[in-house]
């Protein structure tokens, strides 16, 4: 962080903020647009939001150079790593908006909905570009506050409001823990900047070790809440079940990508001196997440709840990459996140298609006999489930392979074996869905809405999962390249 002299000079390299500026301005434009147009035209805000994301994606690619660039006196960084994770989040948002098109049609104030999605996206993009705890916290809160409202968007539906309230209360608690931890780290190092904290910790030896560890623990716990790592996962099933399904899809990818990206930055830049300590903590978190996610999911009859536990299990796998604490591990996290994005969006697209004539279509029973009516969707759902389970030669297999290989390389053989074991347990509940689709009799009439964009989403995500499964090298190469800014 450069020393700032008065009067403030204009920050250099402000152009790297362009994607964020586009999103911020367009979110406000959509908010106002919704107020001034007639009811029939409100759906336009969805298309404006999609156009915004595409424009932001193009500018993100354009402003990113091979050198990492800073602006706002070193408070904001743009490098390959930030750009890559931003593209993932932009893709998650575009998918989220497409999934919302039909689902949210009957809701009033639809412009607010898309504006909130863009604000959440802005928060996430700010997070992954943070170089210090202040910028990071700003992004975390902008994201979290927007997502709380999105979860409770159907405010006349009781379970939606309940989910939002639970999520809000636990989320605020976690923000408090995060801030408390940051204050400890500031106390022992006198800095908010990740790199300067890293230097201070490396040079301080064992002085103030207890306070530093307390700070590290609280920061990890606060972030673990946000990415629903056990034992901080309690809000996840309720929030996932109560939220409108497109929001569930959005929040199971976007905030996770942002959370893990910033965790990587914190651990790599600020805490290399504490590697032994944070690995010990993350190790138990990973084992717990794997166990809770994969075992509790078996008991779920509601597929959104099942996907919530599935997320907990998957973040357990992602944690393995952090535990490996090596470039391979971090690359594996990016690979995992990329593949997870497509698997999740495809799955939720099909879940949304199940909603019909007053049936939510969220129970496992609702999927019974789908293969006879719509073999295409049934095949796609089958692919998604096999991929999530990690069956070889689908995308999900390479995601799991990469993290487990990295963690075994780093010397945690037993953890790798435990992950493989839990993956095998988890395969049961994914494959059970396939059993319902292919081997059970149809119980309720299917009546799929045939939105062409939804069809395209299902087709695109299925194809990507298969292509990555057969030929994963290009994705892996891109992910390794994206690490250039980080390590």
């Amino acid at each position: 962080m450069a020393n700032v002299t008065f009067p403030f000079p204009f920050p250099a390299n402000m152009e790297i903020l362009l994607p964020e500026i586009i999103i911020a301005v367009m979110a406000m434009v959509i908010l106002l647009f919704d107020l001034f147009v007639s009811k029939e035209k409100k759906q336009i805000s969805a298309w404006l939001a999609i156009a915004t994301c595409i424009a932001a994606a193009i500018t993100t690619v354009n402003v990113t150079g091979s050198e990492s660039m800073m602006t706002f006196y070193g408070f904001f960084v743009q490098d390959y790593f930030a750009a890559f994770t931003k593209l993932l989040m932009l893709a998650a948002t575009v998918f989220g908006i497409i999934l919302s098109l039909d689902y949210m049609k009957e809701e009033t104030n639809i412009g607010e909905y898309y504006a909130l999605m863009l604000f959440a996206l802005l928060g996430m993009m700010l997070m992954v570009s943070a170089t210090n705890f202040i910028t990071m916290y700003l992004g975390v809160e902008l994201m979290a506050l927007s997502v709380y409202v999105l979860v409770g968007y159907q405010r006349d539906v009781l379970r939606s409001s309940e989910a939002a309230l639970k999520y809000f209360i636990l989320g605020s608690l976690s923000s408090g823990m995060l801030l408390y931890g940051i204050s400890f780290l500031y106390g022992t190092t006198g800095n908010f900047d990740f790199n300067l904290i890293g230097e201070a910790l490396a040079n301080s030896g064992d002085s103030a070790r207890t306070a530093t560890l307390v700070g590290m623990l609280f920061v990890l716990a606060g972030m673990a809440f946000k990415v629903s790592v056990a034992p901080f996962h309690m809000w996840t099933p309720d929030a996932y079940e109560g939220a409108p399904t497109p929001v569930t899809a959005f929040m199971s990818v976007g905030p996770k990508v942002a959370g893990f990206a910033i965790l990587m930055r914190i651990l790599v830049d600020a805490m290399p001196a504490l590697e032994h300590d944070y690995v010990t903590v993350l190790l138990w978190m990973a084992v717990l997440s794997l166990a809770v996610g994969n075992i509790a999911a078996i008991a779920q009859r509601n597929i959104k709840r099942m996907m919530a536990y599935s997320t907990i299990g998957h973040v357990g796998f992602v944690l393995l990459g952090l535990i490996a604490a090596s470039p391979e591990g971090y690359a594996a996290i990016l690979i995992y996140m990329t593949i997870y994005l497509f698997m999740t969006m495809g799955t939720f697209a099909i879940i949304i298609l199940m909603r019909r004539d007053g049936i939510q279509g969220e129970l496992l029973d609702d999927f019974a006999g789908m293969s006879k009516v719509r073999p295409g969707y049934a095949l796609a759902m089958g692919l998604m489930m096999f991929s999530l389970a990690g069956i070889p030669f689908l995308g999900g297999f390479w995601a799991k392979f990469a993290v487990i290989a990295a963690v075994i390389d780093a010397g945690h053989l037993y953890l790798g074996l435990a992950a493989i074991m839990f993956s095998a347990i988890g395969a049961f509940y994914y494959i059970r869905v396939v059993k319902y689709i292919y081997f059970d009799e149809e119980r309720v009439a299917f009546n799929f809405s045939d939105n062409v964009l939804m069809k395209a989403t299902v087709a695109l995500t299925s194809i990507i999962i298969v292509v990555i499964g057969v030929y994963p090298d290009p994705v892996m190469d891109v992910c390794r390249m994206a690490l250039a800014g980080l390590v």
Partner: protein, 123 residues
């Protein structure tokens, strides 16, 4: 950074705590000594925006109270930001000026939104 450093850094805060305690205690002590005492049950009962002080907590509560309060917080904070900004405006230059204008424009968007949604009307 020894004990003396801490003492020097935090001495003003200690003084501040003492003054705050004094400011809090003074009215209570002074009224006991100086003012005319005329005790009454009603004077001791809690007062809260025209609600009965003791009744079922699960009663419908007009959400407009909350709306007004939250709008007040937003625009009150705006003032809280504007004041220090105005004091140092000559030092922070044109960049600081533009920053604050952006902040005000963003708040203005919120204001238009609240207005158009009817959050400012009591009826």
């Amino acid at each position: 950074m020894g004990a003396s450093y801490l003492a020097n850094e935090y001495a003003p805060i200690f003084v501040f705590i003492l003054i705050a305690l004094g400011m809090g205690a003074a009215p209570l002590v002074l009224t006991m000594l100086v003012a005319e005492q005329n005790p009454d049950d009603e004077k001791l009962s809690a007062y809260e925006c025209g609600f009965e002080a003791f009744e079922d907590a699960r009663m419908p509560f007009d959400v407009r109270f909350y709306l007004v309060a939250i709008l007040f917080v937003i625009f009150d904070l705006e003032t809280a930001f504007l004041f220090p900004w105005a004091v140092v405006l000559d030092q922070i230059g044109i960049f600081g000026f533009i920053e604050m204008m952006l902040f005000l424009v963003i708040l203005l968007v919120g204001y238009i939104y609240a207005w158009k949604k009817g959050a400012l009307q009591w009826e």
